[in-house]
């Protein structure tokens, strides 16, 4: 994976996040035996119907340097707030087809409550605070900028 910025951990993956990547990531934690709970969020591109047109894929762009710096802040704050052992975050850039994964948030802790709460808070903050944009591409080749609900 390319590091777009030396200072902050990269979260971006070109294209969809493969299911194998997710299982490999899970596998890597089997040696960390102080972990008692994982919480995983996977965002999947949905084929919404908008004005009778079906979304076939989303093209993601980001203000990468700012997104990574903001993600670094969020990461630090979440680690301070919850007793987490691990936190891993990946977001797609470029084209992701409907049915594919574009966001992967993975938190681990001794006990379930902190892993679940931290995971949820990270997802909400990513959607609200990271400068990332999705352009919905329709089956008839028209397109429009996605609006987060």
């Amino acid at each position: 994976m390319d590091m777009t910025n030396d200072k902050f951990k990269n979260i971006f993956i070109q294209g969809a996040i493969p299911p194998d990547f997710i299982s490999q990531s899970l596998k890597k934690h089997s040696t960390k035996t102080d972990i008692g709970a994982h919480s995983i969020f996977l965002g999947q591109v949905r084929s919404d119907t908008i004005d009778g047109k079906i979304v076939s894929e989303i093209e993601y762009t980001a203000y990468e340097e700012m997104a990574l710096s903001k993600m670094h802040e969020i990461r630090e704050e979440i680690f301070k707030k919850y007793p987490l052992i691990c936190m891993h975050i990946y977001h797609s850039l470029g084209l992701v087809r409907s049915g594919e994964i574009s966001l992967f948030v993975f938190t681990s802790s001794k006990h379930r409550k902190s892993a679940i709460a931290a995971c949820e808070e990270i997802v909400e903050r990513i959607k609200a605070e990271l400068p990332i944009w999705g352009k919905e591409k329709m089956e008839d080749n028209s397109q429009q900028w996605k609006i987060n609900s």
């Binding site: 710096s69 574009s102 990513i126 959607k127 400068p131 352009k135 900028w145 609006i147």
Partner: protein, 76 residues
């Protein structure tokens, strides 16, 4: 003062280019120049970041400022 303007999403569609140079001393001046150049920005919502930090209200630009126009985010 020369600033580097960088745009994204819907705003980049309106300006037609992702990055360009403008001359302005502060944000208020830049905003009015942008509206003259790109009247379609008038009714659009966007946040502004100067050197990757969000700003609200007017700010004077430091040397070589990078000013980003950021429409509502839609990641995830």
């Amino acid at each position: 003062m020369q600033v580097e303007v960088i745009t994204f999403g819907l705003i980049a569609d309106i300006t037609g280019k992702k990055t360009f140079q403008m001359q302005a001393h502060d944000l208020d001046e830049l905003k009015s120049l942008l509206l003259v150049k790109f009247p379609d920005l008038q009714d659009k919502h966007y946040a502004i970041a100067v050197n990757r930090e969000f700003v609200t209200g007017n700010v004077e630009f430091p040397d070589h400022a990078e000013v980003a126009l950021l429409p509502p985010f839609s990641g995830g």
